[in-house]
Amino acid sequence: MRKYSVFALAREALRAHKGWEAQWSSPEPRSSYDVIIVGGGGHGLGAAYYLAKEHGITNVAVLEKGWLGGGNTGRNTTIIRSNYLYEESMDIYEHSLKLWEGLSQDLNYNVMYSPRGVMMLSHNTHDMQSFKRHINANRLYGIDNEWLTPEQAKAYCPPLDISKTARYPINGAALQKRGGTARHDAVAWGYARAASDRGVHIIQNTEVTGIRRGLNGEVTGVETNRGFIGAKKIGVSAAGHSSVVMEMAGVRVPLHSNPLQALVSEPLKPIFPCVVMSNTVHAYISQSDKGELVIGAGTDQYNSYSQTGGLQIITHTLDAICELFPMFRRVKMMRQWGGITDNTPDRSAIQSVTPVPGLFVNCGWGTGGFKATPGSANLFAHLIAKGEPHKLAAGLTLDRFRTGRLIDEAAAAAVAH
């Protein structure tokens, strides 16, 4: 693989960039593979990359029904953080954050990981109790997360309105400095390029229409719109469509697929230095390298695969944004879009073996999938290679819905008395 560097760039500049080769090859599928990953998003491509890199399994194909990164990988607001509450969550998101920190170098592809800080605003006593609980848990776990006074929050994010007259005045904030953003497309392309370089087959426009099983119920391969492709193991990482794909193997998973919308403003000169989130008023916002304000809206209330949502979700989010940052009221929304998030009952992901031998599933990342990409991919590769979960992902198995051992980050932030 041609190494990317400033020198290569300079060399190519002199010959009109004719020398660049395709970032990943697009081969015809083999008749069978050791592992087939269903879903060519960041999680799936990453899993294939780590299977090859860390487990020496290179006879791998990633099947994508559309274009790489066309699902939630290419539709999210690119926020990265690891300051979660429960050990199970901290384990995987911190593992992920550590990988983010070296990902551009590991992949030789600039994914533009930018630790500009993720600040979560506290608006009342209950927020403060909940955030302090996170901060203390994070500190004892070795994860950075600090409490800021309103003044410190304003210093870190000057556009913030900390006036006492606000409808929900800010009484502090939790800041994870290592949190930030990355370039979502680059993650998919970077993994695809690096995986392809290690022999993984990246096969786009190939939709899995069925999962074939053998006499003992084990998987033997997948039916696709391009015919049958054999596989010893199948890893499903098809966020948004996890239920649909798992149903092909007769496995029901506890998921709701909901529309999640986001929007960007027209490009502006740098005005917003970090990522700000507020659970109380339901908003999160950052500014992209192109200068767009990137704003995440809430999920629509109903199940849908339409990748569209209601305008009221957008307006509700902008209410909050303009309440926190009154000077943005004259800024304009340039583009809105929607993705499909798979949400589990406890809002934590599922990474698990399934009742079907050889079938593994990685789903249910809800609205947190992008930040988890490297960690999830890395641990999913381990699960597929070893047949059992890595200890950092041990809590994410399907079994918890029978035992009741949920990882309920949402409930932990329960609404106050």
Partner: protein
């Protein structure tokens, strides 16, 4: 913003008046205290989450206050029918799983051969 026909108010009303209430026709087990852990997990957690025709519950919470059932296509988000709570699952005549006339974005967006 959806437009939802409330079978009690007998007219179409804005989604703003409604609250979605999950998959329909999941009855609470009679002797719930005696079911197994697996049965409980099935009842409480597992859902069909269909792509295409789905049966779901809505509540006209800012209207007549009633819960009711709906058949909706989760690709087009089109409602095929709504009917009162307590009625059995209503068949939807002549509807394929998903309506092919409808464009999902993944269909519109260019393929990548």
């Amino acid at each position: 913003m959806l437009l939802i026909h409330c079978p009690y108010c007998e007219e179409d009303r804005s989604e703003l008046e409604f609250r979605w209430a999950g998959e329909a026709h999941i009855a609470r087990p009679d002797a719930i205290a005696d079911i197994t852990d697996e049965e409980f997990a099935e009842y409480f957690f597992l859902r069909n989450n269909e792509k295409g025709l789905t049966y779901e519950r809505w509540r006209h919470i800012h209207g007549c206050g009633r819960f009711f059932n709906a058949a909706r296509d989760t690709v087009s988000d089109r409602f095929l029918m709504t009917y009162k709570a307590g009625l059995p699952k209503q068949p939807v005549p002549g509807v394929s799983a998903t309506e092919k006339t409808v464009e999902t974005y993944e269909q519109t967006e260019g393929d990548a051969r």
